[in-house]
């Protein structure tokens, strides 16, 4: 059989994680990420891995904390309401400088919302989510192939910087099927001398902890962590540019919204409007520089989102509010159509205050 297989986005994450050496998965059932857990439930026992359906999202993320403390690759996945429940654990993981992968296959909210796709957890993912000063490395796949590739990348970056990573997907990419070439088998390339693997009576005990009794010490750990965040902002920004060289209107969109936007950009070009697309692949760190660089050359930006407008703030900040930024959005499980995006591009091209 050929190297390519036909996979659902959720399955691609699971298989890519296994290939990245993740042998521990903890989750709790929720739509629309079900296939991920189902895949893990089938595969893990066959490769001496651990699949455990936890009693709650809270327990699941704390099991992740435990495995990560032991220095192994580990993940959990959920969808929006479940990811809210995980925030406490995510804050502890960030505060203890542990690597981990958290997958959010977003659905509509707030509250129970609905099971249809959404991007309305952008703030939660990129601006903290839990308590305290911290960031996650947030990757946003726009295809089933990227579900696999970015999963492998997320593990690597997370290990490298000791910062938890989040794969921020949406229900559509999770559910859609596309051909995918799975990444090669790999494993962590980073030494983890901090892991609690037992002293073997040969070293002082390791402590995984986020409590600091002395305020100066807590301040110092926060400062040190933000130096690492600065490194990440310098080295790990990822994005795709599409037809931006001569663009008059710059669309910014990620994930499923970027796929729709790409079609709209092509359609706009056909009617003579010079449109282009910046597709953030990391939304933290956000690709500030490309937005800043293009700002002087364009009439304005169109932020296409499956939310009431969250990423739009980062676009405004990145361009220093030097150009108008309009919002083209659908919410509640709806996805903007290429025509709706095209219309927004036309309006911005016609001059929108």
């Amino acid at each position: 059989m050929s190297e390519k297989v036909l996979m659902k986005g959720n399955e691609a994450i699971a298989e890519a994680a296994i290939r990245a050496g993740c042998r521990h998965y903890f989750g709790y059932p929720i739509t629309p990420q079900t296939e991920l857990a189902a895949y893990m439930a089938k595969r893990m026992p066959k490769i001496d891995g651990v699949f455990l359906q936890a009693e709650s999202e809270i327990a699941a993320i704390n099991m992740v904390y435990g495995v990560s403390s032991a220095g192994l690759r580990v993940m959990t996945s959920s969808s929006s309401p479940g990811v809210s429940l995980k925030q406490e654990g995510i804050s502890y993981i960030a505060g203890s400088d542990l690597p981990a992968l958290i997958v959010n296959v977003e659905r509509g909210g707030p509250g129970l919302g609905g099971i249809q796709p959404s991007q309305s957890d952008y703030y939660q993912a990129t601006k903290g989510g839990g308590h305290g000063d911290y960031h996650l490395i947030v990757l946003t796949p726009a295809s089933v192939q990227e579900m696999a590739d970015l999963t492998a990348l997320a593990f690597d970056l997370s290990d490298k910087y000791r910062v938890p990573a989040m794969l921020l997907a949406d229900g559509t990419i999770g559910q859609m099927m596309e051909p995918v070439e799975l990444p090669e088998e790999s494993c962590s390339k980073v030494e983890k001398p901090w892991a609690v693997t037992g002293t073997k009576m040969q070293r002082k005990h390791n402590i995984v902890n986020s409590l600091y009794l002395v305020p100066e010490e807590l301040e110092r750990t926060n400062m040190e962590r933000f130096e690492r965040y600065a490194e990440i902002e310098k080295n790990e920004v990822r994005y795709e540019e599409f037809m931006t060289e001569d663009a008059d209107v710059c669309v910014v969109a990620f994930g499923i919204a970027a796929r729709v936007s790409k079609n709209a950009v092509v359609a706009a070009r056909k009617e003579g409007i010079k449109a282009g697309l910046i597709r953030p692949i990391t939304v933290w760190p956000f690709p500030k520089q490309p937005v800043a660089d293009i700002a002087p050359r364009v009439k304005g930006f169109v932020s296409v989102e499956l939310s009431m407008g969250q990423m739009i703030d980062d676009i405004r900040l990145a361009c220093g509010c030097s150009k108008p930024v309009s919002l083209c959005n659908r919410v509640g499980g709806m996805i903007p159509t290429p025509d709706e995006v095209l219309d927004a591009i036309r309006k911005m091209n016609g001059g929108l205050a």
Binding site: F26, A54, I58, A59, N62, M63, G66, V196, T197
Partner: protein
């Protein structure tokens, strides 16, 4: 012959506990069990949120500090990652029986092969003496200033009685450390809870009925009397479940 020696698996750090607090005794008993089973180099402990939050400084083995109530979930992750290691949690009553009740019950139901040391002193010590899930009816605390009124605040949670109803756990026992006889027995039972894990038997929880002179507003001696007169009658000591012993009958 050395009569009194610090267990090897305690660090040199000085305990921060109030005078007369029984956490010190319980730490020592846990450390003695680690020493006796020779597992220190292979052990990982999980500290709670509560008065014992800094347990990670006192035990010489590797330690993880868990979020409030989540120690059994963290221990589950550790044990699944390192099945050959000895994983224990050390938790108080608010941590284990209130905010972490779900994690406790489900780790027990899974018969997760870990050791849980549960210190029940019927009060939230760390935050300054609020009502705990195990505070006795009528007990005066900061948040039950007129005494725990069971009509509005409900009844205490009896952890051993609850968990022993589950098919899952291997070993559930309640001990106390208010006198020499009880301390000796506690030492034996805690060691058994570690031996069970090493033998692969499964979830073993030891509840230690304890005292908090500071927040109970009593002298240490009075507090130990209160344990004897009030706590133990409400929380009877004994082995509530011992699957292996039962199967051997």
């Amino acid at each position: 012959m050395v009569v009194f020696e610090k267990p090897k698996s305690l660090t040199d750090a000085e305990f921060h506990y109030c005078p007369g607090c029984t956490h010190g005794i319980i730490h020592r008993l846990v450390a003695e069990a680690i020493d006796a089973t020779g597992c220190e180099g292979n052990a990982v402990g999980v500290a709670p949120v509560g008065c014992a939050v800094m347990a990670y400084n006192y035990f010489a083995c590797d330690m993880v500090e868990a979020a409030h109530g989540r120690a059994p979930a963290v221990a589950t992750g550790l044990k699944r990652a390192m099945p050959d290691h000895v994983i224990f949690t050390y938790q108080g009553d608010g941590d284990l029986a209130s905010i972490g009740m779900a994690e406790t019950v489900h780790a027990a139901a899974r018969n997760e092969n870990i050791t849980v040391i549960f210190v029940n002193n019927a009060i939230y010590g760390m935050t300054g003496g609020q009502m705990a899930p195990t505070s006795l009816p009528g007990q005066v605390t900061q948040t039950s200033p007129y005494g725990r009124d069971v009509k509005t605040a409900g009844y205490p949670v009896k952890v051993c009685e609850i968990l022993s109803q589950l098919d899952g756990p291997e070993f559930i026992a309640r001990v106390a450390v208010n006198n020499v006889k009880n301390v000796r027995n506690a030492k034996k039972i805690i060691q058994k809870a570690f031996e069970n894990q090493i033998a692969g038997k499964g979830f073993s929880l030891v509840e230690v009925v304890s005292s908090c002179p500071t927040n109970w507003g009593m002298t240490p001696v009075k507090a130990l009397e209160w344990v004897e007169d009030k706590m133990i009658p409400y929380y009877p000591l004994g082995v509530y479940k011992d699957r292996s012993a039962k199967e051997a009958e």
